[in-house]
Symmetry: C2
């Protein structure tokens, strides 16, 4: 069975794609535009990075259903391809076991590094 094509979503500048603490159930491939990733501190906000064409955001949701670790906001009109966790998992089931294992290990490692980086390197604005 072939998977249905993935949904494309066009968002205006200022749109929050997801918010820290929200349940995470999908990732996004940035087709065009600019997405800022930030994290709340006590008073300020910490910018973790900026995603653009070809980047992926919210990919940790593909590994688990933990709440979003950061907020993603479009700083210009952007086009995103939505990758729902269930859709990703169905594709993964049909994947070569070596590829699958590598992917899950790398996702796990990236989560560990991301958590570590957020703890160590606040960029306050």
């Amino acid at each position: 069975m072939t998977e249905a094509p993935l949904e494309r979503r066009t968002v205006a500048a200022g749109t929050r794609i997801f918010v820290e603490g929200d349940p995470g159930d999908c990732a996004y491939l940035v087709e065009t535009g600019r997405i800022e990733i930030s994290k709340k501190l006590d008073v300020d906000e910490m910018v973790l990075g900026v995603a653009g064409r070809g980047d992926m955001i919210g990919e940790m949701a593909l590994l688990d259903n933990e709440p979003r670790m950061a907020t993603a906001r479009a700083t210009e009109m952007s086009v995103l391809v939505v990758v729902p966790k269930e859709n990703f998992e169905r594709r993964l089931e049909k994947t070569d076991p070596v590829i699958r294992r590598v992917l899950m290990l790398i996702l796990k490692r990236l989560r560990a590094k991301t958590t570590e980086a957020a703890r160590k390197a606040p960029v306050i604005r």
Copy 2:
């Protein structure tokens, strides 16, 4: 065509699996044992981490053929599954395009984070 099973390699304590600066052409899945990952500084050595059962080492070679960024040394007898880059690529070619894209993006991001972490957080011993 089914891929041949991957080679398993048993290494004694003290064996260097790969050395910083070596050409990188495969990754390793740690089946049992303990592998220390370290990087040379001017005089000392910086321990980046320790890999154990279920972990993967040298996975950046699956993305490119850059030299090894660190040295991996078994600190006890270990069993490793060898994943050669060419074998991985053949498996990847047969993989769903969404899975493939996610995997390559995540590998790329992990490389960026690993480089960043090595620059920021020396653990000298």
